[in-house]
Symmetry: D3
């Protein structure tokens, strides 16, 4: 069995072990505008000014990069090698304005908008709190030519994140999707929220979702028919581009203690990986992983999980590249 020339080059492990060298995601090369534009640009948005409980996710991108030194490229379930199929680069971190949410989202979206080739380079953002999803969705949507129907959205989360505003703020981490829907970036009829669970503040928290035709897979559904429903949801929309947003708090805090609004009774890491593997066939327009809060992490559990989630996302895309 011979390995093809990789499209993404890793350091030579014979002299540079995984604990050595400049720390980029997955030991992938730093993004260089002079190079051939990569298929995926990974970048951080180290911002947590949108949180409602524990802050600290600004340190998420660094923690995920450090944990990602463990990442390996050959996906054993999909039988696909990321670095053979995709060129991937780490573009560092977007500029942020730590005291101001909207300014940060605008600056990050503008900065990300210029990475690589808008036609061929997709964006994988590392949060930061969930507010940053709006920025990456916007940048991705603008790069794809502002598709009128908006993207579909596969959204893993314990929470719906469609609260209109909190403490008078419309751009916080409870609101990215209501804003993205209002702005036409996401089409709620093609949006599925996976792993949502209670308790909620009130029954009315579900109203926006039901009025707008969002699909919700409750956490309780995921032991039963949920995985099949998710697979069918995507399969029923073969031509649609999806954005994928993964909030680590969908996973039980035993697996992801390092997060800001932990929600007891979540799925396991193994279930999360399996659900993502279920998305085989999805057309990805962009993605994010958010709400990694290193100060509450233990033994890198959450950062390692986030890193593996990113590998799963990239593997889904690699599957679509012909041999």
């Amino acid at each position: 069995m011979t390995m093809k020339a990789p499209r993404t080059r890793l350091p030579d492990a014979r002299s540079t072990p995984r604990f050595a060298g400049v720390c980029t995601f997955g030991r992938f090369p730093l993004f260089d505008p002079a190079d051939q534009p990569p298929d995926w640009a990974i970048y951080g948005i180290p911002f947590d000014g949108g949180v409602t409980f524990r802050p600290g996710a600004r340190f998420g991108p660094r923690a995920v990069r450090e944990a990602s030194q463990f990442a390996r490229p050959f996906h054993l379930v999909h039988k696909v090698n990321l670095i053979e199929k995709l060129s991937i680069a780490d573009a560092g971190d977007a500029p942020v304005s730590p005291y101001h949410i909207k300014e940060t989202l605008d600056a990050a979206a503008a900065w990300a908008g210029k990475l690589g080739d808008p036609d061929t380079t997709r964006l994988l953002a590392i949060g930061g709190d969930h507010s940053i999803a709006y920025a990456n969705i916007r940048a991705s949507w603008e790069r794809r030519g502002r598709p009128a129907g908006g993207f579909g959205l596969v959204h893993f989360d314990s929470h719906l994140d469609t609260v209109d505003s909190v403490w008078g703020e419309k751009w916080g981490h409870a609101s990215p999707f209501i804003r993205a829907i209002e702005d036409g970036l996401i089409n709620p009829r093609h949006m599925i929220s996976v792993g949502v669970k209670g308790p909620l503040n009130a029954a009315s928290d579900l109203e926006f979702a039901s009025k707008n035709g969002m699909t919700i897979l409750m956490r309780e559904d995921l032991e039963g028919t949920g995985p099949a429903l998710l697979r069918e949801f995507v399969a029923a929309r073969p031509d649609r581009e999806f954005y994928l947003s993964f909030d680590v708090d969908v996973v039980d805090p035993a697996f992801a203690p390092g997060t800001g609004t932990p929600s007891i009774g979540g799925i396991s890491s193994a279930q999360a990986l399996s659900l993502l593997q279920n998305l085989r066939g999805i057309r990805l327009a962009g993605a994010d992983i958010v709400e990694v809060l290193p100060a509450f992490d233990v033994s890198q559990l959450t950062a390692l999980l986030a890193s593996q989630i990113m590998v799963e996302i990239l593997a889904l895309d690699a599957l679509r590249v012909p041999d």
Copy 2:
């Protein structure tokens, strides 16, 4: 959809975020004898003098209260809002005598016996080690008019807690139920222990349970028919009042590391919540949550779980309140 006037008032979240203000369970009001007696009085028994291994559960009530700031009132599975259906107050902590188990149990039972209206106010105690269950069972039983047949008991635990004595002490945390049964507070024919697992010190550890007709759902049963058996056990006794005692060590220490006698191979948090939701219809005479040991907790996992267990217990009761 409009929310009814709540029977329990929470602080205004617009000015008092969840990390602010006096720390009561669930941000519920402090118990005030001058107020209308609440449906439930929550209180702590900060005592760990009954332990056989790691001490420190005396700090449990504070840790659970702090974690409970996260708690939200609308239960998404049961579709019930705690604060619409129930009036709940935090009565602070019972007096304790840290060096003496029996004196503590007597003092706590006497103190709790006077909270609110014995006819309408039920008691939800936060331990402390499992020895304190006896005090809350006794206070609850006396308030209910000392029912001759004793309460039924739904008991979640890795251990049976029916050891006659340890190091010559009959009131320690391995013995609350043998004492409660001896004193007629609990009827062993209506007692079910859920999640029991080994290893044990000897085969004879099971003798008391089998001789007295206790029902045991082994931990291994809970992947299969156990949940249905539990549901049927309660459903078969529709008129009986049950006391519910929840030892966090029934959950695997990955989910509840902060406990004194961790038992490897336990159920997940999600399974624990599901088992409790199974009890729909139960008539609760009182309840406790015990063995939260903050010094061994990480990132509040155990305290958050305990807080959610308490929400589940209260939701079971709220379900019985007509609209």
Copy 3:
């Protein structure tokens, strides 16, 4: 030796150990507007929206209160008993607007302005990040009748906190004193910053202080003549009211790891206590303790220190009360 009737009543330790009961600072009573106004109202401002590095000090007030259960009232060096000389109450937490600094400062100052009797009740605030000092200084100054010359300031800190703005924000935690000076609340000629140390971003960071006549005791001075200079600074201004602001990062992070911008090479806890004891005779118009960040604390070190600093501050005031 008999103890006088205390002016502040503590719970009966015979039945309520230090790990029990509602958690107020020092186990002092909750502030009740219906009571005689206390000499000191202690309150929290759970806000960390002003930080430039690690956030999380919003959880500071709760952590300090929990650690303060250890606090004892008889000061062994000053030979004064806090609760004999002073009436002290815990007023809970000020309202905050987590996304907005200036709004939070305004709301907290307005709320604190109404606590107790403006003429006789002084304010001791627990942060939160250092930005909150402005709010407590303003409330204290307004209550004292807006003294035209401003307060003196004794400021313990590794940093000067006189940066004009950071990321375009003028109210962050690097700027409280430049704002307080601009607004006439603090007179820089009567301001002394104790424990300042480098490195700095540039030599120009010292310009505001030197232009405005602030006195700086560098950290290096504190092993030598610094303590005497501090004592003389205060003694030379016997009629002036001082505000005291204590940033825990003045202490080395070995003693105070739980803080947002730790500064290596600080003084020890013992030195900090000794410096405060040096201020004997000071007339205090108000005070704060800031920058306790529980997520980085270990074994409550920082919170215990903050609690003891508050005892020292109150003891300085108790000394001025005649027997």
Copy 4:
């Protein structure tokens, strides 16, 4: 019900609680060459010079012994009491040469080779990193008279550990089984690796296994038919002696954070125990538990798990002893 005279004597718990006394595995007696040779000699190989990522497993044996004070002898599923059926002793730690892998393996194998009676005493080794498995396999194989066909192997691990060499080293923790197979200690046709998961460095990582007829139960298989396949694999080889090697990283890092190469998405502790219980009937020639790294452990989770795994292994053997 009476308990038989135990074959292994434990300290009297009436005076020596589980947190007291000399710390041997399970509170079993220290191995004494003058005594009757035990059925099992437990010993540590405190060596981590074979790791490729996080070192520190040299402290594993001590941590497992400390956690094992919790261990109890009566297995509730198998209904067997270890100390009635087996005589077990803790032989302390093998000599190691911390800078040299091969020298350590040789020294440990030679030392272990002399413990007890080669015909009747089997060896249960506590690592240390996985490289030490080779030493215990060799010692076990030589004691059993160097069976020509080699042992069968039941191998729990996230990784195959059949890498030929890493950084030019052929004896590291990624290579014990390739060496054991080359030397005829293990027969790959009778070897099953349970819980293997990706990602891998490349597709070629699987080549050795497939060429040599090893059986692999992928982690994904373990939710479905895997447990039955494992049971059948062993049942189909009733006369073969098996060595059992358990790398704690087969379990998800939420359950076993204290390990050197954590692999996200593993099985739960409960699944691990259940899989081992599945092996009922196996003839054990020796065993090990490896890769416990205390510096990354939290609240002893990993060490407690390792201790329970060892109880499960011993219980499998106790089952074969007639009453």
Copy 5:
């Protein structure tokens, strides 16, 4: 320079590194009644039933033994080699009765009373909370022929530990010395408490000490003349036998976070070692080190300190052995 034949034999470091083998204090041999009685018997009293705040010191003896693997025998300041001058053995742990203080003290004293030769073997106890000091003092005093005048006492502590009773209990960790004085084991005129600091509950806390002629070196004295005063106190009593009791909370919690009643503003570890070195010439009748609470320790700081304190104590005795 040649080393003498050691009186205490350590394991051969060439094959048994410090992280290997059975864990005894300092890697000293296990006490064997059949051997020549040692000069010092080290033993643990794993009991924390006497605490008033954080429990958990029952795990202290194990933690100190583990940290002591670092201990080395040649004292660089005193220029004395422990193992050349003294024979030392680790006798394991005394029996305890976890629920009962007085019974534990009696059992431990009786057990320790039989270790080695009462005339030549002295006792060094590892706590456990400070209540256990009484047991070791009593055993030491009885072994020395119950000297009528009692021992002198050098007592390092933040607290006086002469409270008559707490919660009605006369044998708790706040009371060992009042009991030892009442029973004539300690002569308060020859007792010096070093490092005492406030705050106290009330001024009256000092009364017992002043009435009974105890000498107190306040923590504040230790920067100045305190060390000389301590040296002179001992030098002025050349024929008196002293017991030495060291509570780790005398050291600032930055150096000893793992303790039950931390006291802010303590001395540094370096000061503690220096104070002990000051005692050169003291005649030791016995000693203890208490209040190590591993659950609050970080990176073994407190256990390592305790281990080094024990080396200092033994070195003081070794100095008195002629070459």
Copy 6:
């Protein structure tokens, strides 16, 4: 006051906060062979194969870089701005051979030997364990034209590190200086070891130092005349080039818990900084900081200290650059 054009450019803090962007030491630029050679090349040697107790310092370079995001360039005591006076770059990590000490030292020395301009670029290495000092000394010495007399050495450490061999290995972390002296890289007559403390294994551990004319400042000396002696030692050798090696274990583990062989009773961080500031005037040929072990660090204390030590070292050099 205007700032000169910096010789080292930092990221614009207005858009890239300290928690953002690619993580290089001090946010200094990555070394680029195409650029003007820097005055100092900082690089890591992520190797811990030379340890005798706790491993894990291989993760030191990453941890120090992360903590160094706090570093600021203007030194307040020396009144010098690093980035005005010096050009500094982060060259990443040297190649290592994790299983082999000598091969690693050779590879690292060869790799570092080629960084920048041998005549003008000096090397500041981040360990890794102390064995790596040899590699950086050799590379520095070869670049400086192999000066026949060897370098002087200022060595901060609790240990002498002149053990001939451990477990048969001559290149471990206890031996770098005996090897450097043997090879003529260091002249022991111009070598001073600062902060050495006991206990030692035996009196003979001091023999090599005394026979070869090394100067030792014991830890106890550092409270008194030690700092002056250190200053004079360097001042007496104005023309000699010194190498500076800083083992973080010279500092007490309360300040530097994250290290492999912690030594109780060390100096404080403040003393360490002051001692380094004492070296004003020294001519530096190279330097290292070693033995940072992140797995035992808490709240980044040790990594922050290491980062500040590096700033102090660079500031000493910046002082020699004329305005």
